[in-house]
Symmetry: C2
Subunit: 224 residues, 2 copies
């Protein structure tokens, strides 16, 4: 173990396991085997065990995993065991959906401040918060100390916002704008692109109707 970097797919699955475990907990289940986790998550039992092995030993041979115990362990791994403040930039439709998202609370993720550059919006209420001037982000985060930020602004403003977030001390950015952000190496970015998701589905869904009866487009020099 010692010096292995944890694969990103492992981290992504950890969040899935957590959801399965929380559901099981809700249902009053005390113990789960890796096999049972596979049934509920669709993720291979060996994969599940391997994923956990990056962080330690959490199960009992012959018995399985304590649901409650493992929930706590995964929450600790993902730093969801303490309140995690988040800066949201962009008080538009997506921003509104995020501050109104009920599931964050259960995971101790809290949008601690909302920023915009539109002076018509600044000062207005937004969910439980008041929209702040983006110019004050550094100053405000000196108090909050958030390490996570969300970019929910139009593409043309996204890079500038990313720079401001980094300056304010953020090291993890969730980016909803369709742009590739340039950030320093210590900053992590994850992109959410509705367009990309739908584009992939568009290919797959139509592919399906065609029943893969041949080539997807054939291309050839004619195309260029």
């Amino acid at each position: 173990m010692t010096e292995t970097r944890v694969p990103i797919p492992t981290l992504e699955r950890l969040a899935i396991y957590l959801r399965v475990l929380l559901d099981a907990h809700e249902a009053g289940i005390q113990t789960l085997s890796s096999q049972e986790v596979e049934q509920h998550s669709g993720i291979n039992a060996a994969q599940f065990r391997k994923d956990l092995s990056y962080f330690g030993e959490f199960g009992k041979p012959g018995v399985g995993y304590s649901v409650e115990g493992l929930i706590q362990c995964i929450e600790r791994i993902l730093r969801l065991d303490a309140e995690q403040p988040i800066l949201l930039v962009g008080a538009g439709n997506i921003g509104a959906a995020l501050v109104g998202y009920p599931n964050f609370q259960a995971h101790r993720l809290r949008i601690a401040a909302v920023f915009d550059n539109n002076f018509v919006k600044i000062g207005r209420p937004f969910g439980d918060l008041v929209i702040e001037d983006i110019a004050r982000i550094r100053e405000i985060n000196a108090t909050i100390g958030a390490r996570l930020g969300i970019i929910a602004v139009p593409a043309h403003a996204a890079q500038e916002v990313a720079d401001l977030l980094v300056e304010a001390g953020v090291t993890g950015i969730l980016n909803f704008a369709p742009t590739i952000l340039r950030v320093p190496p210590h900053v992590h970015v994850r992109n959410v692109s509705f367009l990309q998701e739908l584009a992939v589905l568009s290919y797959q869904a139509v592919e399906e109707s065609l029943c893969m009866n041949g080539q997807a487009s054939r291309g050839g020099k004619d195309a260029v």
Copy 2:
């Protein structure tokens, strides 16, 4: 080539290339080499060429790729060359963000109908549309013929909605609800989970502050 299944990462990158190409087109650039695409996308030039090779030959050795030509080819591959209708289920915050999303139009993705089960909402306007009764989804899609659907309802209702979408003829589902959907094998699902994204960033961002000075949690039997 002939019988290779296209890897999903390839499809995801295709959408990224398309964005880079559209930006280049906007900027009046006529031709791009794979090396230049790497500069703009961060994706390895060989990867780019390999990805395209699943679909045909689109470049000229010694020259590169026609921006306009390749845009058309990728749009055709992803079925974004003709208007693609989409059914949206759930007229809440996320639904509102989606119908108001300005970038769909540019990709010929069109939310063609919105559904909800809340009789207070049914009949009300929602963007350019009117909220329809979810009970009528099959009937309404008989006219629209959409193959793509979006689930933007609470987790407890998501599976039921998925069943209805499938029944209505949808073969690609974008799921915003934090649940694992069970669908027939011919139906493709992609999940968007804000929680998952933030959980991964939460780990990475804090990991970063700790500078990976040791083990992530050590675990051990004590934990279970």
